[in-house]
């Protein structure tokens, strides 16, 4: 139905022309779901924007054709494209909240699309809009019609976007990272819905994602993109089981999956043995009946409802839960950026919860409790070079100056795998992985005892995530740090943590050794979370590993 050949897109920039897509070819058959997988900068989103002819200024289709239903989208006039967008081909974007007009009721936004393409009249628009909301299984659709986007959850917003995309009965759906930023259970619900509805209507779809596991679960065929080229195409299971291209191999390896160890995520040549780390017996952090209540407009909001847990010295504890479960509030209180309502936080036997967050800056324990933030871009000052960023904690909390300071910065950069020439760059001149390294180097600059990792890899590509996770494991072994790893990704937690705490609605529903919680979960919520995680097909390496293991036994 869609046939793309030798498609090339380039952008005019300050440094000359940048080729984002360098001659790709693929077909999408009627009723087929094609997954385009690749890491950031691979040109996968640009491909979809070019197909819809909504490229940013400066971007042009340089060559090739994209024949949809006998028409070449690369050559079609803007007037024809307006008729095709929404009616023939529609698109779901990454951030559903940004894709909806914030000051317009969702029902009106749906009506607008219906009327624009002549699918509804003033008289029946409302009924058709409600029917469209019902089609994406929004409960109580008539009431939701009057809702504004800010009143709906992220998953609900994505359903509305999906309803708008489906409203005019398009034959091809392009979903660009539709579930990035959504909770894992919401992701599953949305993706199941997309799969069911596209199948029901015999639609073709293109799923663009960085998550190989997700793509493998929901797509018939995968195309792996790298640097504007498709390196490999094939059925999902086959691609996973026996990747032909070295890059596909690297991606498959880097995808966290049950049964793989941290080092398995790296390319084979980088799999040095992982240093042992044995948690000590002494309790480093003890949390007792920790409560955080925010005053809200409609009564107090109980973000954390009296949780207790212990982290032993050298232990890595995973704190797992979905957005709103209180895990971020808990980590903010532990790192002393937020005051608790009641309860104790014993650090090395001393109750640090008694020191107000505002005054903790001057406490001698400040340097011992540090944090790596979720969004590496947001957590680096845009006006500071990497060197200044890493130097900041050292300047503030130690006496190191001059040449000794520079030596220490370079030592930290080397420890974190940041090439020294990059130290004088600003954050926007660094890649995501490099920014993550700068953030980690800053956090460990003063040899903290306790490091809180707030989803440090959530914004990273899988191959970079694999490297960063391994870096964290190496640092733990070398510096003897204790980790609290906050994450929503159970597969990642399984790799790095000895102990897991599962939170829901401000309470701890389950905690225990990682293997026990992951393999024999006792709480239904834990089971839901585990079931929602995308399950990549088993790979060849896994099978051989398991075979080797069983043979050894």
């Amino acid at each position: 139905m869609l046939s793309i050949s030798d498609f090339a897109v380039s952008f005019r920039t300050r440094r000359g022309e940048v080729q984002a897509v360098r001659g790709i070819s693929f077909d999408v058959a009627q009723g087929e779901t094609l997954g385009i997988v690749g890491e950031s900068g691979s040109g996968k989103s640009v491909t979809s924007y070019a197909l819809m002819r909504i490229l940013d200024a400066g971007g042009t289709i340089k060559a090739g054709s994209a024949v949809f239903d006998g028409r070449d989208l690369a050559q079609a006039a803007e007037r024809d494209m307006q008729a095709i967008r929404g009616r023939e081909i529609s698109m779901i974007f990454q951030n559903p909240r940004a894709a909806l007009n914030p000051i317009c009721k969702v029902g009106h936004q749906l009506e607008d699309v219906l009327k624009r393409h002549g699918r509804a009249t003033r008289a029946d628009a409302r009924a058709k809009a409600i029917a469209a909301l019902e089609a994406v299984r929004i409960r109580d659709a008539a009431a939701r019609y009057d809702a504004y986007p800010f009143e709906l959850s992220g998953g609900m917003c994505q359903r509305v976007v999906f309803a708008i995309a489906l409203a005019c009965g398009p034959r091809l759906l392009i979903a660009d990272e539709p579930t990035t930023g959504l909770d894992i259970t919401t992701q599953k619900a949305v993706m199941d819905l997309v799969r069911d509805l596209t199948r029901e209507r015999g639609m073709s779809s293109i799923l663009i994602t960085h998550d190989l596991g997700l793509a493998a679960e929901y797509c018939d065929r995968l195309a792996v993109m790298k640097d504007g080229r498709i390196v490999e195409t094939g059925p999902a299971a086959a691609l996973f089981a026996d990747p032909q291209d070295p890059y596909t191999r690297k991606l498959v390896d880097a995808t966290p999956r049950p049964g793989a160890s941290l080092r398995d995520l790296l390319p084979i040549e980088a799999r040095t043995p992982l240093a042992d780390h044995a948690p000590g017996d002494r309790a480093l952090v003890q949390v007792r009946d920790l409560v955080k209540t925010y005053p809200g407009k409609s009564g107090p909001v109980h973000a954390v409802k009296g949780i207790s847990f212990t982290i032993r010295e050298g232990q890595s504890v995973g704190l797992v839960g979905e957005s709103g479960c209180g895990k971020s509030t808990t980590s903010s209180m532990l790192v002393r950026l937020l005051d608790r309502t009641s309860g104790d936080i014993l650090f090395d036997g001393f109750d640090i919860a008694d020191i107000p967050a505002d005054r903790f800056v001057r406490d001698k324990r400040r340097s011992q409790i540090q944090m790596v933030f979720q969004d590496a871009t947001d957590s680096l000052n845009p006006r500071h070079s990497a060197r200044q960023t890493i130097a900041d904690p050292i300047l503030r909390m130690s006496a190191l100056r001059g040449a000794a300071l520079q030596t220490r910065i370079e030592e930290l950069a080397t420890l974190c795998g940041l090439p020294l020439p990059l130290l004088d760059r600003f954050p926007h001149q660094l890649s995501g992985g490099q920014k993550a390294r700068v953030g980690i180097a800053r956090a460990i600059a003063l040899d903290p005892k306790f490091l809180i990792l707030d989803e440090p890899t959530a914004a990273l590509d899988v191959s970079i995530q694999a490297v960063v996770l391994n870096l964290l494991a190496d640092l733990r072994a070398r510096l003897g740090m204790t980790y609290l790893f906050v994450s929503h990704d159970l597969n990642v937690v399984r790799l790095l943590c000895d102990h897991v705490i599962v939170m829901q609605g401000g309470e701890i529903v389950e905690q225990g050794p990682t293997a026990q919680v992951m393999d024999t979960p006792s709480h239904p919520y834990t089971r839901t979370l585990l079931a929602a995680a995308p399950k990549p097909p088993t790979t060849k390496t896994n099978e051989t590993d398991t075979a080797a293991k069983s043979a050894a036994e």
Binding site: V361, Q370, L380, N381, F426, V467
Partner: protein
């Protein structure tokens, strides 16, 4: 351009290269910077370069139209309009630069404090700013100068005061959205006090939009100073100043002596125009993200 661990293939721009890029990218910026240089030249060296003494009167030579000796003609006292227009640049620029500098500093401090701590400080400051802005600003400036006496310093203070709210509001908003940003929290964890976090981490990030405000304000400040002089509350004659010159010249337009008011007015207009055009360029220069 690099992979996860690779060494960069090119070096980032330095400040000089960045300036050249910004100027080349946008011809309007180049034009405005060129005109700014032209005005600066007049301000610094105008007094030594002009062909006539701007204060020398010559009744026999009064109200001459523009000619080869007097390029912009002469006024009712026979003074050379060209020399007066050029010499006035220094005074007008001094007033506007100082006024903008004062309102920039005071507005930034107030706005940053209100935006960072919020609460009652924020509420009080906002009401005070509302009060200032509720006055017609020019009338407020008139009142201040009338009450304190019309000296150059008082014109500067009055112009600064009426511009404070614009800076305070802008900084407050810019600081407020960055108060909970990751890098601000990270700065706290690195051992920065609230003051250091605000002054050295958050505030510098508010500079790019501030630069646009500064350049617009320079234009307003010049107009404001000229306006005060125009109505007789500013610089006193016979000091050359664009506002007074326009005021004095206005009396002679009816009798056909247009050049006495037109040329100082033209210079005033060009100066305001220059500052207004400079905003975007200034912002691009101070924004590190524009350097790629």
């Amino acid at each position: 351009m690099t992979d996860a661990t690779g060494i960069p293939t090119r070096k980032p721009d330095g400040a000089g290269a960045h300036l050249i890029h910004v100027l080349r990218e946008n011809p309007v910026t180049l034009l405005s910077f060129g005109m700014f240089a032209f005005f600066l030249l007049q301000a610094f060296f105008g007094a030594y370069l002009v062909p006539h003494d701007p204060l020398a009167t010559n009744a026999a030579n009064a109200l001459q139209p523009p000619n080869w000796t007097h390029w912009f003609g002469t006024d009712n006292l026979g003074r050379d309009v060209f020399s007066r227009v050029v010499v006035a640049t220094r005074l007008d620029l001094t007033i506007s630069v100082l006024a903008v500098a004062i309102s920039f500093v005071i507005g930034s401090v107030l706005g940053a404090v209100a935006g960072y701590w919020g609460g009652w400080i924020d509420a009080v400051l906002n009401r005070v700013l509302d009060t200032i802005m509720a006055f017609p600003l020019f009338v407020l400036a008139m009142g201040i100068v009338a009450a304190l006496g019309n000296t150059v310093e008082n014109i500067i203070y009055a112009t600064a005061l009426i511009n404070i709210p614009f800076y305070a509001r802008l900084v407050r908003a810019e600081v407020n959205i960055r108060r909970e940003a990751g890098f601000a929290l990270a700065a706290r964890l690195s051992g920065n006090s609230h003051f250091r976090t605000l002054a050295f981490h958050i505030f510098p990030n508010a500079l790019p939009p501030m630069m646009v405000q500064v350049s617009l304000n320079m234009g307003w400040a010049i107009l404001n100073a000229a306006g005060l002089s125009f109505i007789g509350l500013g610089v006193r004659p016979p000091t050359p100043e664009w506002g007074i010159m326009v005021a004095e010249g206005a009396n002679f337009i009816i009798s056909g002596h247009w050049w006495v008011a037109l040329f100082p007015g033209l210079w005033l207009m060009l100066a305001v125009f220059t500052f207004n055009l400079m905003g975007d360029g200034l912002r691009d220069i101070v924004d590190p993200r524009r350097r790629t």
